[in-house]
């Protein structure tokens, strides 16, 4: 069984959930015997747009240490398409990248995927043209390669999947990691919505990362329920070799928010809850780690509330610093307004940090050992934070069972489920 997959780059160059999910799922699929032609957009800046490069499997920018990939490299072709598409691109971001390329700067990989996530919601003409151009490239890839079905991840690659299906007649699976409603609330970008919808309508199967996302797909995009299945994400097992030596230098307890600082992630609710906790408890520090278009507004809010001696911003954290941050955290909060899945609380739990997550997150469907609150309920959030900080039995229980729980949420299960979906098509044909 061979799948043409339109996906995203792998770690370590990735920071968002989409790249991590791409990585985890690919690995799991390879493990259960699925062959892949993996196509990713990748910016080089020194070539004509539209060029495709077949990357020798051993040159893939994945973690070479990864034994699983080593083992299955022969089952995977890896294609890089010269394109500036990045998972969280907006028009602004896109424009900036293009401009830099024309000036002769190669857009730095780290910066595309990491520190600057402009998320204004105003997707523009240029970005959409790029999506279309990418779809044209997909057509030529589809013509030249042999495969059994097509799998597209998120809206930027839906058009590519759709075109590949039109040319080859092979079945198409689209994967919904986040909908436009998650990203932009009710003020959706109509063009993006239309691409998402057209992609799902053209698809033979839609995979949603949670029941919550599935119901959005059904209710807001009008996709027939029979066509939509939920496959929950997994989490990577911890890096056992790397034992970071981390010392705590602060006497206070630390409560952490880690993620893109955008509308979707609900950072303002974290701040309001922090303010409430600080009214009662001086022996705590709050940290907001990450970057995004709401960062400056959040800084001003914290200053206005007069809590900035206890509320810290770290900017974007990468690699070891993320682990370091988890290691010194006592509570992790994910107050997302709308989170299709949300891998980060699982990562926190893996590091023995008790988590508070919003009920509006997909991960709430799979986690038992977490405190769940409505994102807007800052009183409940403050309560939960205070409780975890003061009633020792609580964090101890969460740590004990949480770790066990999270260790059982594996990508392998997701891989198996996706493989079953593939097989269904093959049986039909």
């Amino acid at each position: 069984m061979k799948v043409l997959m339109f996906g995203w780059e792998f770690p370590p160059h990735i920071s968002g959930g989409l790249g991590t999910a791409s990585y985890g799922l690919t690995k799991a699929l390879l493990k259960c015997g699925v062959d892949l032609i993996f196509v990713v957009p990748k910016a080089y800046g020194d070539e004509k747009p539209g060029s495709i490069r077949l990357v020798n499997a051993s040159d893939i920018s994945i973690d070479i240490q990864d034994e699983v990939f080593k083992e299955y490299l022969d089952k995977m072709s890896y294609l890089e398409v010269d394109s500036q598409l990045v998972p969280y691109a907006t028009e602004e971001e896109y424009f900036r990248i293009i401009e830099n390329t024309q000036k002769g700067f190669t857009a730095e990989k780290g910066s595309i995927h990491s520190s600057k996530f402009e998320f204004s919601g105003g997707y523009g003409k240029n970005l959409l043209e790029e999506v279309k151009r990418y779809a044209m490239v997909a057509v030529s890839i589809a013509r030249e390669h042999d495969f059994d079905l097509i799998h597209s991840h998120d809206w930027l690659t839906y058009m590519a999947g759709k075109e590949a299906k039109r040319i080859t007649g092979k079945p198409l699976v689209v994967h919904m990691h986040a909908t436009e409603f998650d990203r932009s609330g009710e003020s959706v970008n109509k063009q993006v919505y239309n691409i998402e919808r057209a992609g799902m309508e053209a698809a033979d199967k839609v995979i949603a990362v949670s029941h919550m996302t599935r119901s959005i797909v059904i209710n807001r995009y009008g996709i027939h329920p029979d066509k939509v299945v939920t496959v929950h994400n997994g989490v990577e097992p911890p890096q056992t070799e790397k034992d970071l030596e981390i010392k705590r230098h602060l006497d206070e307890k630390i409560v952490t928010f880690l993620g893109r600082i955008t509308f979707q992630k609900g950072p303002e609710y974290f701040i309001e809850a922090a303010y409430k906790v600080l009214q009662r408890d001086d022996n705590v520090r709050f940290v907001m780690a990450g970057s995004g278009d709401m960062l400056n507004k959040m800084i001003r809010r914290v200053a206005k509330l007069g809590i900035s001696n206890k509320f810290h911003f770290t900017g974007f954290l990468k690699g070891d610093d993320v682990d370091k941050m988890f290691a010194i955290s006592d509570v992790y909060v994910m107050p997302s307004v709308s989170e299709p899945f949300g891998i980060s609380p699982l990562e926190a739990m893996r590091s023995n940090v008790p988590v508070i997550i919003s009920k509006q997150s997909g991960v709430a469907e799979v986690l038992k050992h977490a405190i769940k609150v409505d994102f807007w309920d800052i009183d409940a959030m403050a309560d939960a934070i205070y409780g975890l900080l003061h009633y020792n039995a609580l964090p101890e229980t969460f740590k004990k069972y949480g770790k066990e729980e999270v260790d059982n949420i594996k990508w392998d299960q997701a891989g198996e489920k996706v493989k079953e979906i593939y097989q269904e098509f093959l049986r039909q044909s």
């Binding site: 006497d251 400056n296 200053a303 206005k304 900035s308 206890k310």
Partner: protein
């Protein structure tokens, strides 16, 4: 006879290094040693040393007809001693001519005058001591940070023993009045005020090298012509500017040094002006009228107010959180703590947090190390968080005693702790003064 009063400001902050959240609680080195050294050395070479040499030559040539004044912040002096001692020597030479007046200001180029009378006094005394130690004179006239002034500050300055103050001459205060006269404070007529002539000052300080300025190029003859064209009642023209005007803000190649070198000769040849210091002027002239200045003015921006430092919520927050620590810091005897305390009060930190000029590049002129005011705020607050931890630890001994006397309740012990804090302050300040005087 009319006077030109030149006053040059020298101030450089101890810029903070990139201080991360992970550093809080265990790393106490806050300052960017490399950048601070580099900037001071550059300025010494490009600006301070060549300009001093010219001034020295002019004083030798014209004797006491050519007198100028300087205000050098304590933190700038500290950096000169550390990084460029030759600049200190050069100023000592100027001081020994007797024709250079050194003004008093706050040691840490701080905004303490707007917040804490006690800290303001402490810093002025500290600066006095420093000037006395280095240049052998006690300052007689006062300039506050960024020329910030209002009636209250005037009263405080008088209390400190000064009756000459230099400040900005903004239109919203002067109205139809001329800046080219001596004034006095309406709330205390003994306090004499020299108001900056911002038109003529900025012609030199900001516009000298601007090629699309209609008056470019500015020559000593042209400038003297403008002086002569001033109203016949003119008594003093106050030309106040940063010393970096010479050689840094306007590079050597613009001819700024030649302008400085030539100006006195042309002035003596073609006008009735002589060069005086602020104290000379205050002694020589009678105040033309009292000025009422209820709200703080400064020499910054079009507004000539304090919003460049305390104009948004981040600045106010950082400023308030900083001075929340004052009480406790003053109970500390650790010299390192007090030194950091002074350096954290430097006005530049707050200036970097300003959101007023996102588009124009004026901030870079102060060697702003940050990409955005938000970065500046985050970095400063991280440092302050660590400093606060140290304050709490190091000052614990004293507060514990008082806390033990009262009940264990926080609120009560805090209130009681204030009193011993206040009485403890003065001896500490004196002690520090005494120590540095011994050097």
């Amino acid at each position: 006879m009319k006077s030109i009063c030149f006053y040059f400001q020298i101030h450089q902050p101890f810029r903070l290094r990139n201080y991360r959240f992970f550093d809080i609680g265990h790393k106490h080195d806050y300052f960017d040693e490399y950048a601070n050294r580099f900037i001071m050395q550059q300025l010494a070479e490009k600006s301070y040393l060549p300009a001093n040499e010219i001034l020295l030559g002019l004083i030798k040539k014209f004797g006491n007809k050519f007198r100028v004044s300087f205000s050098i912040s304590g933190v700038a002096l500290e950096q000169m001693e550390k990084f460029t001692p030759e600049v200190i020597d050069s100023f000592k030479q100027l001081a020994s001519t007797g024709n250079v007046e050194f003004l008093a200001e706050t040691y840490g180029h701080s905004l303490a005058s707007l917040k804490s009378k006690q800290e303001f006094f402490r810093q002025v005394k500290l600066h006095e001591t420093k000037i006395k130690m280095l240049f052998g004179v006690k300052p007689k006239a006062f300039r506050n940070t960024e020329l910030i002034y209002n009636d209250d500050i005037g009263n405080h300055i008088f209390e400190l023993g000064y009756n000459t103050v230099i400040t900005e001459g903004p239109k919203h205060i002067l109205g139809w009045k001329s800046p080219n006269l001596l004034y006095c404070s309406a709330s205390n007529p003994k306090v004499k005020l020299l108001m900056k002539n911002f038109q003529l000052s900025d012609d030199i300080a900001f516009r000298f090298s601007v090629r699309n300025w209609s008056e470019w190029p500015l020559t000593a003859e042209k400038f003297t012509g403008w002086l002569n064209a001033l109203d016949s009642k003119t008594e003093v023209v106050n030309l106040f500017m940063d010393y970096e005007t010479f050689g840094e803000n306007h590079k050597k190649e613009t001819g700024i040094f030649d302008f400085l070198k030539l100006l006195p000769q042309v002035v003596f040849d073609k006008s009735r002006f002589v060069f005086k210091t602020p104290s000379d002027v205050a002694a020589l002239l009678q105040p033309a009228s009292p000025l009422h200045i209820p709200y703080p003015i400064s020499w910054a921006d079009e507004e000539r107010d304090i919003t460049a430092w305390l104009g948004n919520e981040m600045q106010n927050e950082a400023f308030n959180k900083l001075y929340d620590l004052e009480e406790k810091v003053n109970t500390c005897e650790d010299k390192g703590m007090l030194s950091d305390w002074e350096k954290l009060q430097v006005s530049d930190h707050f200036y970097y947090m300003s959101t007023k000029w996102f588009s124009d590049g004026t901030v870079t002129k102060n060697f702003n190390p940050y990409n955005s005011p938000y970065d500046a705020f985050i970095n400063y607050m991280n440092v302050l968080a660590d400093f606060e931890i140290r304050v709490k630890k190091n000052c614990e001994g004293k507060t514990k005693v008082t806390a033990a006397k009262t009940s264990g309740r926080k609120k009560v012990s805090k209130k009681v702790a204030e009193k011993p804090g206040k009485t403890a302050k003065k001896p500490v300040a004196r002690k520090k003064d005494g120590d540095s005087a011994k050097k």
